[in-house]
């Protein structure tokens, strides 16, 4: 049986466009899953992950698209994307909260210093997190074509 963590990373790979190995490599998957559990509850997260697994199994990218655009699951899916890219949780929209309720932890916040530094946005930019993982003296003079893989 697929572990919960693997389910989460499988779903995250579809959502972010980054391969599983790169997501595992951030070391953030457990932290993010824990954050989701705290904000949304374990039950809701389990339901979301099961939905993602079924969607990917049955209809691939179209299935994931349906989740991203779904009235209830879409805001969660989009928040998970931003979580991976920026390391931040974004408070869910008021319309979503009106239906599903609010959690005290559902506030705009940086999940942790590590989450900030592991944001995929820096990888997409061919850069490094501002204030961390310095590239070294003069690296900024090098053409990005030589540094973006």
């Amino acid at each position: 049986m697929t572990s919960r963590r693997e389910q989460f990373v499988d779903a995250s790979a579809e959502l972010t466009g980054f391969p599983r190995v790169q997501l595992f490599g951030t070391g953030m998957s457990d932290k993010y899953l824990q954050a989701l559990d705290e904000i949304l509850s374990v039950e809701v997260v389990d339901e979301f992950l099961a939905l993602c697994t079924r969607a990917a199994d049955t209809s691939g990218n179209a299935g994931v698209s349906g989740i991203v655009q779904h009235a209830s699951w879409g805001p969660i899916a989009r928040n998970i994307i931003i979580l991976w890219y920026c390391g931040t949780w974004t408070a869910l929209p008021d319309a979503w909260r009106a239906v599903h309720g609010t959690a005290p932890t559902d506030l705009d916040h940086v999940v942790s210093a590590e989450a900030y530094q592991m944001g995929l946005q820096w990888v997409a930019a061919g850069a490094h997190p501002a204030g961390a993982r310095q590239q070294g003296f003069g690296a900024w003079a090098i053409s990005p074509a030589e540094t973006v893989s």
Binding site: I82, V110, Y116, A124, A127, G131, F137, W140
Partner: protein, 596 residues
């Protein structure tokens, strides 16, 4: 009041000016007491790293995000600007957009590090162009102190790049470190822009993308030894001082250089003669006592607090032979006013200046490697000087290496826009961001502002902080001269973008919030540069100025007000280097006088 102390010199404020004075005077053998309003957390290596963690976890990563203030020493914050409910009482008509930090190390903890000399013509604006005020000093008389300041704060640049617009260097001189390598995006832009001609007034000006001097550690020249991280430990070990002897491209000069390769004032204070220096942090100067007959200062009262989260404090008196206020252009003035020392010239607090600046941002044709390297390594300086200054303000262009971070909050906002607005996810999202983020280009166009008697800081007894000290009341406007410069700056960047094939994406409505001003039907969003100046203006006529050329207060002869508050005008230079040069000059004068 308790704890009377005797020193040769009492310095208020452990920022760049106060630290330079303290270093020079202790090394000359004088006993110096420095009282600093804020905590000394950046003084230890672990403390500095705790500020780095604060930055990492801050939701907004603005200039102040790494440096939260103590309850007893509040400070302005750009986040408060929109609501207007911050430390400053913004009394209009426009909002003053700049901030500073009240911690040991001052605003050098989060400055960009640009260390331009002022142009020779900047000292003679009235004589040459009929605007502003002349300085009572000229460039040649300050030049030796510029050299000294460049060594003290550690400036990286090549004289070959900087010898233009009349700026001359002593024969054989070069900066203590080689220039910071220009970024790839600088190189791309230079290839497109160098040689471009623009019209300014009656003049045709040929543009050149030029590396600018920065107080960031680079490859040293001669016997210069780059100064690394501040690491003061109780038993005298300095384990981390080798860190930061080269800039490593953290892309975070503002708000915090993680390795302290960029200068901060703690480095200077750490070089003072420790046997002669006493620093009392968490000590807010609250009143200057003067002798009613001679006008001489007899002591500075300060409020010492133990808990930075609480306004609880005790009151003490610091005494010396001479007193140096180096607390900031605003704080120096506030302290003088609240001590009843407004003076007879009527100029204290007036002539408040900044560099009200605009952004232009766009998308380059091909990746330029945005979000890498020191926040800015080059600029376009060609419109800093010239005959057009009789008509409108000069401006200087900073070319960013940090993409649209300052303007829109990217890359975070670019991700949010792609996901929440455009509905992108998966491979499409990644491809979109990979295709756009490395092409982000940003210019900051920093516009000169002239002194005006109605732009001012004052105090109001009804507006006080938690310790009962007055909050600064700011009256601020931007006049036609500067607005015309802003309009010229806007046309300028649009022309440069066209020439370089940069797609102009400047969209003020969907950007970070900044105050607005309208000129000839065009709305400008302007941001402050943190360049406060003019509030205790220097002059050679006591009836028209607060301090003399030595930054000595005309009416209190053992009191010196140092810093950019002394500047009659600011030109387009970031003020720190000139402030440092003036502080060194004052330290020389004080040394001679106290030795006599």
């Amino acid at each position: 009041m308790t704890g009377e102390a005797e020193h040769d010199v009492v310095v208020v404020g452990a920022g760049v000016a106060g630290s330079l004075v303290a270093k020079q005077l202790t090394r000359a053998g004088f006993r110096v007491l420095v009282i600093e309003a804020g905590p000394a957390t950046a003084w230890t290596f672990d403390g500095y790293l705790s500020h780095l963690q604060t930055f990492y976890t801050a939701t907004g990563k603005g200039p102040e995000s790494a440096w939260p203030p103590a309850a007893a020493a509040p400070q302005p914050d750009t986040r408060d600007l929109r609501a207007g409910d911050g430390y400053f009482v913004q009394d209009g008509p426009l909002k003053y957009g700049s901030t500073y930090t009240r911690l040991q190390g001052g605003s050098t903890l989060h400055w960009l590090g640009v260390s331009l000399r002022m142009l020779p013509e900047d000292f003679e604006l009235r004589s040459r162009y009929g605007v502003g005020r002349d300085w009572p000093l000229d460039y040649p008389s300050l030049e030796p102190y510029y050299r000294a300041a460049e060594r003290e704060i550690g400036v990286a640049a090549d004289v070959a790049d900087q010898s233009h617009l009349g700026v001359e260097f002593a024969a054989g001189y070069d900066y203590p470190m080689q220039r910071i390598p220009p970024s790839y995006s600088d190189t791309v832009l230079a290839a497109a822009v160098d040689g471009m001609q623009v019209t300014s007034g009656a003049d045709r000006v040929t543009l050149k993308v030029r590396s600018y001097p920065a107080a960031r550690n680079s490859i040293p020249r001669g016997d210069y030894h780059p100064v690394g991280a501040v690491d003061e430990r109780p038993k005298g070990q300095r384990l981390a001082r080798d860190l930061g002897q080269r800039c490593a491209g953290n892309t975070s000069c503002t708000p915090i250089c993680p390795i302290q390769a960029k200068y901060n004032a703690g480095k200077t204070l750490a070089q003072a003669d420790g046997t002669k220096l006493q620093v009392i942090a968490q000590a807010v100067a609250s009143k200057i006592n003067v002798d009613a007959v001679t006008g001489e200062v007899t002591g500075v009262e300060y409020q010492r607090y133990d808990d930075p989260s609480s306004p609880r404090h005790t009151v003490h008196l610091a005494r010396g032979r001479a007193y140096v206020l180096a607390a900031h252009a605003i704080e120096n003035t506030k302290l003088m006013l609240s001590s009843g020392l407004a003076g007879a010239s009527g100029t204290l607090g007036r002539n408040l200046m900044d560099h009200p600046s605009i952004y232009g941002w766009g998308l380059a044709k091909a990746p330029v490697g945005a979000y890498r390297g020191p926040l800015s390594t080059s600029g376009i300086d060609d419109l800093r000087g010239g005959a057009f200054r009789a008509q409108h303000a000069a401006f200087r262009v900073d070319i960013g290496n940090d993409g649209w971070r300052a303007t829109t909050g990217a890359p975070d906002t670019a991700v949010a826009d792609a996901v929440l607005t455009q509905g992108l996810f998966g491979a499409d999202l990644r491809a979109h961001l990979t295709a756009t983020l490395p092409r982000h280009v940003r210019f900051s166009l920093n516009v000169e502002q002239l002194p005006s008697m109605t732009n001012r800081v004052s105090i109001d007894p009804r507006q006080v902080d938690k310790l009962g000290n007055p909050r600064p009341v700011i009256n601020y406007d931007i006049d036609e001269y500067t607005l015309a410069g802003m309009a010229a700056a806007k046309s300028f960047y649009q022309g440069v973008f066209r020439r370089a094939g940069i797609d102009d994406r400047t969209d003020q409505e969907h950007a970070a919030w900044f105050p607005t001003v309208t000129y000839q039907g065009d709305m400008f969003r302007y941001h402050g540069m943190g360049h406060f100046a003019g509030t205790h203006v220097m002059g050679d006529d006591a009836s028209l100025s607060v301090v003399d050329t030595d930054q000595r207060c005309w009416e209190h002869r053992n009191l010196f007000l140092v810093g950019s508050g002394s500047f009659p005008t600011m030109g387009t230079s970031n003020p720190t280097l000139t402030m440092a040069a003036l502080a060194l000059r004052t330290a020389d004068r004080l040394t001679a006088e106290l030795s006599g």
